[in-house]
Symmetry: C2
Subunit: 229 residues, 2 copies
DNA sequence: GCAAAAGTGTTTTGTCTACACCCATGA
DNA sequence: TCATGGGTGTAGACAAAACACTTTTGC
């Protein structure tokens, strides 16, 4: 299969590691897991796995994520390749990090118990194995940057959400506070939301209208000029 | 060396491929090489090589680049990991792409002859092996995006340059035209250039003042808010 | 003196920011 | 009726865009 001239070169184990973000209405959280193999067994870690011969690197990360969450059709993108010689004390492993956004309620308590996973706010990440903390830091930066120009934040919210929930999300991502009126005006002027005839009544007497992200409207825009705040 | 539980996993050849950009005063160009091994021997390709056991992936890309150009202290950053199963017909190879910016005059005719390399404008890239064209497309997008907030464009210019050369560079990167007065005002207001007492006299009778990028001034800024156009 | 590029300000337009009150409802 | 969060407009500051003429100098 492999041609002659390639054979003289070294080969490597390739891992994928997934930074999984969720949003609980107040904070961005990352899903961590207790490492199930040596070295560093029992320490907190990103969810990961090894790439297999018959799958692409992207496929491997989807496999790992599906295994852990039971979810498919998740927003995911490749983050960075971590290739230092000594990054894993168990051996030379090159890791491709991916970051994923999920709706926090889609991930059940049952699955958390099953896999021994737990959500951590980004401000309270425990010690992690290898270079996983660096991966999370980088993922957070990428999320902040990406969300400015791409409508990926919706992947962290329920399908229908109020403007206040959306604002809280952006505030959590940017770690700042935003003016309600300016935010509302800006986001509605983009013309990518559809207002539903239905209100969220839990958190106020008056109730706040639900909105949904309207993908068709978004795709009609010329993508160059879209700026979400 | 490698611990027991890792041993059951597959391992892979890892390549690095370098997208090397230069600027000739008018256009952004990419440096390509005639591929020296099978498969696809003799076809145009990015410069690449295989990662070795004892080096990090980053080091491998610096090694490949130094081999080709004789240059060290080059601007380079990791672009993306290309990991499709069938991307290389010669065997399963996962490639980490890097993009680099060099001063086009630092790369001599002699080296071009020696390695059989050639500069191609981005609008005239020939057929390339594997997924290399996709790599170049992605690198170009990254360059456009990055140059908006980071002072990396200077890596493509001589140490001293005129404002018109700098403007031509930005115009080439963004594939647009810019207003001379607005550009001058904007770039000077950033306060990251130092004006020299010396003029470039080739391209006009009057002569245009040289400027240099002043790294110290740049580092004094709070990096958050710097926007190059 | 003239051709060719360098250098320089002002006005208009649009976007971002700051800011506070009334509304609807359930208890 | 009142407490709670929901929803809305305007004015000022700032940044971006449009636009054209004078200067310098080698030939």
């Amino acid at each position: 299969m492999r041609i002659e001239s390639y054979k003289i070169h070294d080969s490597f184990l390739i891992a994928v590691d997934c930074i999984i973000f969720g949003f609980d209405g107040k904070e961005i959280k990352a899903l961590l897991v207790k490492r199930a193999l040596e070295p560093e067994l029992g320490k907190w870690s990103l969810m990961g796995g090894f790439v297999q011969k018959n799958e692409s690197v992207d496929d491997a990360s989807y496999r790992v994520l599906a295994q852990l969450t039971g979810l498919s059709s998740i927003y995911m993108e490749q983050l960075y390749c971590f290739g230092d010689v000594d990054r894993d004390p168990g051996g030379r492993v090159i890791s491709i990090a991916y970051f994923a956004l999920i709706k926090i309620d889609d991930y059940s308590e049952a699955l958390m118990k099953l896999h021994g996973t737990k959500w951590f706010s980004l401000s309270k990440i425990p010690q992690l194995v290898f270079d996983h903390k660096q991966m999370i830091r980088l993922a957070k930066e990428r999320l902040q940057q990406k969300v400015t120009n791409h409508p990926i934040g919706f992947a962290l919210l329920p399908d229908k959400f109020t403007l206040q929930q959306l604002q809280a999300l952006y505030e959590a991502i940017y770690e700042t506070t935003l003016d309600k009126r300016n935010f509302t005006r800006k986001i509605l002027s983009l013309n990518i939301l559809r207002k539903l005839n239905e209100k969220e009544k839990e958190s106020s007497r008056k109730g706040a209208f639900y909105y949904v992200f309207d993908k068709k409207k978004y795709e009609k825009l010329d993508k160059e000029g879209v700026s979400f705040l």
